[in-house]
């Protein structure tokens, strides 16, 4: 396996040649959203220029082409995830939407009853926290939280002891967007299964950085957003085990998701359509498939290895700076979070921005995690295939300069 050459692929991403405040853009906010290659932009454009049409039930040629393109995208995604069948792939508008669909559908099923428990972890993004809080409140269910060790990893021994026949669902992220912690999701899912609980893995941060094999993970649901894996905004995926999708009630009503409607009685379509009410984001689905094709052309393992080198290098450089705290374990993936004593992350982020660096500052939609560490936020550098070692080194220099200014 040859090393990924980021310089060879940077020309695929038009935005990377931009300047910010007269300085070349150094984009290190990939955990928030990734930039898009021409292959993806062209797939979107080509859809509208050649075969845009509403899908399903259309007798005319364009409708057939658009339907074929949309369903082909579903297949590409199912293959990428090693799902059992394309019907297990439901298109959503993003990770948050996917989680809310599961929460809403479970809430209407007879799988949850008062006294049950839902387990999440202390690392979760608000999107994998608030929907469960809302559901628990509505149904009189208890939300329990897997504790986080000081190194930003999960206390899985405690997790094992939290599981019981009351556990209805375990919903945990694969990789933490705030700290880059990689969770042992196959252990988490198999333990949940042993106790008859469902499992949902929030893959928003793992899909861009790792090979995903749902058979190995063993989860019931896996969710992610297209925009974090080189695809456009407004498209995401909910994978669900086929038999579960058949069993669960539809969370939303509308066109496509029905079999037959009368005012007295309505019957629903099979999965995946049962879960896709209304005209889907056809362009988004097709562009997402193009993005996964792009990733697979580069080779997801090569991307992983490259990003691993970058993050190790970044950790090495940044840990040498005065007064720094690095969060998360040393074998983190995707994102590196850090802070400096006596210095506000917002001030550092502001000065870095003036130097052309795009980093995220703040709580990263993980306020409970920040509270756990007694901080208001961190500075986070997060990586993609197109980032370079040079950029990491420049970040080190920029941080030094900014720290000098602030101290």
């Amino acid at each position: 396996m040859s090393d990924l050459d980021p310089y060879a692929l940077r020309p695929d991403f038009p935005i990377l040649s931009r300047e910010i405040h007269g300085k070349p853009l150094v984009y290190l906010d990939n955990a928030a959203t990734s930039q898009k290659p021409f292959a993806v932009l062209n797939a979107s454009r080509d859809y509208y220029e050649s075969y845009n049409s509403n899908i399903h039930r259309g007798v005319h040629h364009l409708a057939q082409c658009a339907t074929a393109g949309h369903e082909k995208a579903r297949e590409t995604i199912a293959n990428h995830l090693n799902a059992t069948r394309p019907e297990e792939v439901i298109f959503t508008s993003g990770t948050t939407d996917a989680i809310n669909i599961v929460a809403s559908s479970l809430g209407r099923s007879n799988r949850l009853k008062e006294g049950d428990e839902i387990i999440i972890s202390g690392l979760e993004h608000h999107s994998n926290t608030v929907p469960w809080q809302m559901l628990c409140e509505r149904l009189g269910i208890t939300l329990r939280v897997i504790p986080v060790f000081d190194d930003g990893t999960l206390d899985l021994v405690t997790y094992d002891s939290m599981l019981s026949e009351r556990t209805a669902l375990v919903a945990v992220s694969h990789i933490s967007n705030a700290f880059g912690t990689v969770n042992n999701v196959s252990h988490i899912c198999s333990q949940a299964e042993k106790h008859g609980a469902l499992s949902l893995i929030d893959g928003a941060q793992s899909i861009p950085h790792q090979k995903i094999d749902l058979k190995l993970i063993g989860c019931d649901f896996y969710v992610f957003s297209g925009h974090k894996v080189y695809a456009p905004t407004g498209i995401g995926v909910l994978f669900g085990r086929y038999d579960l999708l058949c069993e669960l009630p539809p969370p939303r009503g509308g066109g496509e998701m029905i079999r037959e409607v009368t005012f007295e009685n309505t019957t629903y379509n099979d999965p995946p359509f049962k879960f896709e009410a209304g005209t889907p984001n056809i362009e988004g689905a097709i562009a997402l498939a193009a993005a996964l094709d792009y990733v697979n052309n580069l080779g997801i393992d090569r991307i992983s290895a490259h990003e691993h080198r970058l993050i190790q290098k970044a950790a090495e450089i940044i840990s040498a700076l005065d007064g720094v705290t690095l969060y998360g374990p040393s074998d983190r993936a995707g994102a590196l979070s850090f802070g400096f004593s006596g210095i506000h992350h917002y001030d550092l982020g502001t000065l870095l921005d003036q130097m052309g660096f795009a980093l995220r500052t703040g709580h990263h939609c993980c306020q409970p995690l920040m509270a756990r560490f007694g901080i208001t936020g961190t500075l986070r550098a997060s990586f993609a295939a197109y980032n370079t070692t040079e950029e990491v080194e420049q970040l080190g220099e920029a941080l030094e300069k900014a720290l000098r200014m602030l101290r």
């Binding site: 405040h21 210095i343 506000h344 992350h345 917002y346 001030d347 502001t350 000065l351 921005d353 003036q354 500052t361 703040g362 208001t376 936020g377 200014m405 602030l406």
Partner: protein, 137 residues
């Protein structure tokens, strides 16, 4: 100097800086020089919640003149607040209420100010005027 003269002075001071580094360094130095507010005073009712940084504001009216005390966990935000405090401290509530606080637009700062910061400044100015109004009633 009245409010608008003080504003003009600040605008001229800031115009001296040619590059963003110097301008930020100046703002940061203002932030550092603004006396820290007593920890006891950093209470919820004095808090102006910005987007990422927090600002505490305390106001008093002594002998008919406003006196502001402010602090922030962000030194850049604090530096910018310092500009406001310098302009409004020692003025009558009436003058504060009527002051045109858009002078920031005339400094070279605006172009380097994130909208979130700009927003925080707008909030800040509004809050300072509100305190002046309370002082009158």
């Amino acid at each position: 100097m009245n409010i608008s003269e003080k504003q003009q002075e600040l605008v001229e001071e800031l115009e001296l800086f040619q590059d963003w580094t110097e301008r930020y360094e100046y703002v940061i130095s203002l932030g550092k020089r603004l006396p820290a507010m007593d920890g006891d005073l950093q209470t919820a009712d004095r808090l102006i919640r910005g987007c990422q940084s927090q600002v505490w504001l305390e106001a008093d009216c002594l002998d008919g003149k406003m006196s502001y005390l402010a602090d922030s966990d962000s030194v850049i935000t604090k530096g910018m607040i310092a500009l406001f405090v310098r302009v409004l401290n020692g003025e009558t509530p009436e003058d504060v209420i009527q002051a045109d606080m858009s002078f920031i637009d005339r400094t070279g700062l605006r172009e380097h100010l994130a909208p979130t910061r700009a927003n925080a400044l707008t909030l800040m100015a509004a809050e300072m005027k509100k305190r002046a109004t309370s002082a009158l009633s």
